[in-house]
Amino acid sequence: MEILQHLAQVQAFTGIGIGLIIGLGALGACVGVAIMCASFLEGAARQPELMPQLQAKVFLLLGLIDASFIIGVGIAMLFAFGNPLLAAIQTAAG
């Protein structure tokens, strides 16, 4: 019964942690992309002849900004499906 309580506690905090990882990562990525796209739109309005080159750079930078967020999603998925924090409980339960 004790073990089950400890298990439930670890699962609960892991759930909250997963939510924070994905949520805060998404927040940062979206705000970053929004600022970059605002600059792109302003630049395209000032110099429409540069729009193709700027657009290519926009996609490159989109991938770079998304990187940390996607790495965070990968780590969160690891915790969701193969939680390493449960190892201690599993050894205690036998």
Binding site: G63, A67, I70, V73, G74, F81
Partner: protein, 271 residues
């Protein structure tokens, strides 16, 4: 065997873990010495197909009016050449083919993600008799780290070649804060962080995108297990995610290539 398969199919975690386990063959004692045979075979197969196609087209290339295949290969080569020339201002004889190889190979490896997971699992089981086989090599962290560490070794090699061993050590200890002996340790730490974070971010970005894409495909497919409404919405969102994933596959290959070129360019510049 039947109960093991039943356990794989009946719980969401079991389903996902089944689809995410590699076909591993140990060649030594510790877990470090185990090969992910599926990643190796798929990456070699895809590389041979991609580079082999370009080689075959180049063998039959004409200087006159090009055929469609030759025009396609020329399109790819010119695209990569433009990117390299805009960033790299030295001898591009090595960097341009490197960039083209990286782009074509990573793009083909990533596009193995378009094959539907459940259908391919059924094919692998009935046709080849394989219980676990992952067909996207870049969703394996070993593959992406292999690629980025190769680029990293090339970067170190070209740094030493362009600046000389003495010049490179000088730059390691004296930039960016200056040559004062008090600043040697901060300079070294700064440069070490840069040297470590480059291959890490290079590989983890590609791995994370492909891995997260696969997980989302699996999760959307799991929705179908909840009934008719789940199947309908799961199929709808899977289609949307697959279309978005086409962009991600191409974009990640392009970013990997661009960063390779940028790292090579940064290695060649000397002050």
């Amino acid at each position: 065997m039947a109960s093991e398969h039943a356990e794989h199919a009946l719980t969401p975690t079991g389903y996902i873990n089944h689809h995410l386990s590699f076909f591993t063959k140990p060649v030594g004692d510790t877990p470090f010495w185990s090969l992910n045979v599926d990643s190796l075979v798929m990456s070699i197969l895809v590389g041979v197909i991609g580079v082999g196609f370009m080689w075959l087209v180049c063998r039959g290339a004409t200087a006159g009016v090009p055929g469609r295949r030759q025009a396609f290969v020329e399109l790819a080569v010119e695209f990569v050449n433009d990117q390299v020339r805009s960033i790299f201002h030295g001898n591009i004889k090595f960097v341009a083919p490197l960039a083209l190889t990286v782009f074509v190979w990573v793009f083909l490896m990533n596009s193995m993600d378009f094959l539907p997971v459940d259908l391919m699992a059924w094919v692998y089981k009935t046709v080849f008799g394989l219980e676990n086989w992952r067909q996207v090599p870049t969703a394996d962290i070993n593959t992406t780290f292999a690629l980025s560490l190769s680029v990293w070794f090339l970067m170190l090699f070209y740094s030493v070649k362009a600046k000389g061993l003495g010049g490179w050590m000088h730059e390691l200890f004296c930039s960016p804060f200056g040559g004062n002996p008090l600043m040697w340790i901060p300079n070294l730490l700064f440069n070490l962080v840069e040297y470590i974070s480059k291959p890490l971010s290079h590989s983890l970005r590609l791995y994370g995108n492909m891995y997260a894409g696969e997980i989302i495909f699996l999760l959307l497919g799991l929705w179908a297990a909840t009934g008719v409404a789940g199947t309908f919405f799961g199929a709808l969102l899977s289609t949307g995610w697959a279309i978005f994933h086409i962009l991600i596959v191409t974009l990640q290959a392009y970013i990997f290539m661009m960063l390779t070129i940028v790292y090579m360019a940064m290695a060649h510049e000397s002050h």
